[in-house]
Symmetry: C2
């Protein structure tokens, strides 16, 4: 079984921010990490991932910079901002509350 789009929806940004909280990272790495950690039950599709990066950057929750790889494909790294950290905390709290409510309704 894998997670449907509708359940994923609304959590993509929080998942990304959580990873960036640990350390700066780039799209491909974040995606691979999530797949491995969830044993392929959960996958952020590339289009989903990159559109989320755009939203987060526009909102000021992350900033990006190109890595200085001298070999291999270029990487665009992302870094979480102070407001991004606040947004993450709110989103996490919202998830905790929603979880409780849904548990009582489902």
């Amino acid at each position: 079984m894998s997670i449907t789009s509708d359940i994923l929806r609304g959590h993509t940004e929080t998942i990304i921010l959580k990873q960036l909280l640990i350390s700066d990272s780039y799209g491909y790495q974040i995606n691979k990490y999530i797949q491995e950690k969830t044993d392929n039950q959960f996958e952020l599709k590339e289009a989903t991932l990159y559109s989320a990066f755009r939203r987060l950057e526009t909102a000021g929750y992350i900033v990006s910079y190109w890595g200085d790889e001298t070999t291999g494909a270029r990487r665009r790294y992302y870094s979480i901002t102070t407001t991004g950290k606040k947004y993450y905390e709110e989103s996490k709290k919202e998830w905790e509350e929603a979880k409780g409510l849904l548990d009582s309704l489902i």
Copy 2:
């Protein structure tokens, strides 16, 4: 705080089916029940509710019939079908699994 649309998304049908599992009911009653149970933190908007009823009925998960009220506004009652019950069980299981995954990613 209230639950955002994006977190609600994908759970509306499961919430409705859960109520119908207890007993036949109608839109207004289901909506009221959910509001009261969650202390107004969670509310299915009418348009959302009725479009979910349409989907569920088209899919064969519920059937509807008009109540025989002799006074007051008419009510359209809904009843969960056998396949609806199966669908509910699957949805519930999916929620449990998604919950675990999200907890590890958020």
